[in-house]
């Protein structure tokens, strides 16, 4: 069963009277429970793809949905920055999707999640008091508690230091293996893609140019995957990127 079905998805950003094609007609499907990675250079359209799936942008053309229609897609996104609410504690931030509906998650669920994120000691702290790594864990927890069908992750670890990044990657794999949610993970880091992805989509200038299925078991030894890494790097290519996101920001300024 496919969790996600994307058909001829196109997105153009308008700016300064010009048009910038960020996505040039993408068609792909992702089976339920898969850890799918999208890798490419900055400006290749991977973030735009994620934002379209999240419903934060409207497509110029094409559809995002579940195969056979049915209920609308319930997605949760983890952004590049933690985007925690400074007025809520770590615990309240994680429970935000409940709070906003005037409900509360059960104490058991909440505690277990906070425990699994290693945030128990900081659950009553405000975001300004915790480190970037912990903030990103809390942000991940907030999306997990929302319990979406598909978890979208937009370079969630790229702002963190090497060690924190490695630790969070392991934690994410662990959580994913427990819950088997469909994950769409965007990154510019090929090692990260190799470490996490069951299916790696290489994107370049608004298109998915290659798809690699990776069968290796977790945790993976990246050092032994140099052949695949070479192939992915080749697929990413050396073409220049104009930067869809910059184009969009320009459009917003105009």
């Amino acid at each position: 069963m496919d969790a996600l079905d994307i058909r001829n998805l196109r997105k153009e950003f308008l700016f300064d009277g010009g048009r910038f094609p960020a996505l040039k007609g993408i068609t792909l499907s992702i089976p339920a429970g898969m850890f799918a990675v999208f890798v490419g250079k900055s400006g290749c359209g991977k973030t735009t793809l994620l934002r379209l799936v999240a419903g934060l942008e409207e497509p110029t053309e094409g559809t995002v949905g579940v195969r056979g229609g049915g209920a609308p897609l319930r997605t949760g996104i983890v952004f590049q920055e933690p985007r925690l609410f400074p007025w809520l504690t770590v615990e309240e931030n994680i429970a935000f999707s409940y709070r906003s509906m005037g409900k509360r998650p059960t104490e058991e669920t909440l505690s277990a999640l906070i425990e699994s994120l290693g945030l128990t000691a900081f659950r009553r702290a405000h975001p300004s008091r915790i480190s970037g790594g912990m903030a990103q864990r809390a942000s991940l927890g907030r999306t997990l508690l929302y319990d979406p069908d598909i978890i979208l992750m937009d370079e969630p670890f790229s702002a963190l230091d090497y060690f924190t990044r490695a630790a969070l990657r392991d934690d994410l794999l662990h959580l994913w293996q427990e819950r088997r949610k469909t994950v769409l993970f965007v990154t510019h880091d090929v090692d990260e893609a190799l470490c996490l992805g069951q299916r790696i989509h290489v994107m370049d200038r608004g298109e998915v140019v290659r798809i690699f299925d990776v069968e290796d078991d977790y945790p993976r030894d990246i050092a032994s995957m140099s052949g695949l890494k070479r192939e992915i790097l080749d697929a990413i290519g050396n073409g220049t990127c104009c930067g869809a996101h910059h184009a969009k920001e320009k459009a917003a300024e105009a």
Partner: protein, 255 residues
Amino acid sequence: MRRLSFFLPSFLLLLLWQAGSVFGWWNAFLLPSPQAVGETFLTLLLNGTLFRHLQASLGRVLVGTGLAFAAGFPLGVFFGLFPRGCAPFLPILDFFRHTPPLALIPLLILWLGIGEASKIAVIILASFFPVFLNTLGGVAACDRKLIEVGRSFGLSRGAIFRTILLPSIFPHVLTGMRLALGFGFRALIGAELVAAASGLGYMIHDAEMLSRSDAVIVGILAIGILGSLLDALVLKVSSRIAPWAFQEDDVHGRP
């Protein structure tokens, strides 16, 4: 110990005042000695005069800034949410913002009489804009990335307004309220100096008529101390309600 050193400059100023009075650096009529002021203070305190005027001023300030908040806060939010639609009204607001409330006193007295209404109107005119502009600025400064988090969880516009926008503008509104109290208080004293039968401004005016510079100074001190206390109180209460807004802030920092 830190508390002591915090009040050291104030104490030194008092000492200077005392020294100047003892050594006759100035005419005691122009600036009476601390003792003379202290005695007058005690007299006015004990016979209830000071308290009566203080109560009158404080009551007006609280009612006036309360009404200014009731008008300025929703309007600020509204203008912030619909900036384009509201833009044509800005010139009118700008006009009143640049008009000192005291300049309107003659008209206010003409329209509202010399009773409480005209005084409260002066306070509203003075304290509306800090509340309005800070609220407006808060809405404009609200982090779109946080709004997007709400959208990504499928929240309705109303829910985003309640759970994200309102808390995020709270520190701005608070700054507005603190400024409003200060502005309102200052404008009120002015109004009371011109036309009133009670209040700290009236007390000063009355003392001036009787050439009692010691009583004038008591009035000034009462105003300054009351203003500082009000500000500290607002800060204290709001840091209880919203501790997160004060973590970076110096407790004695002025907006």
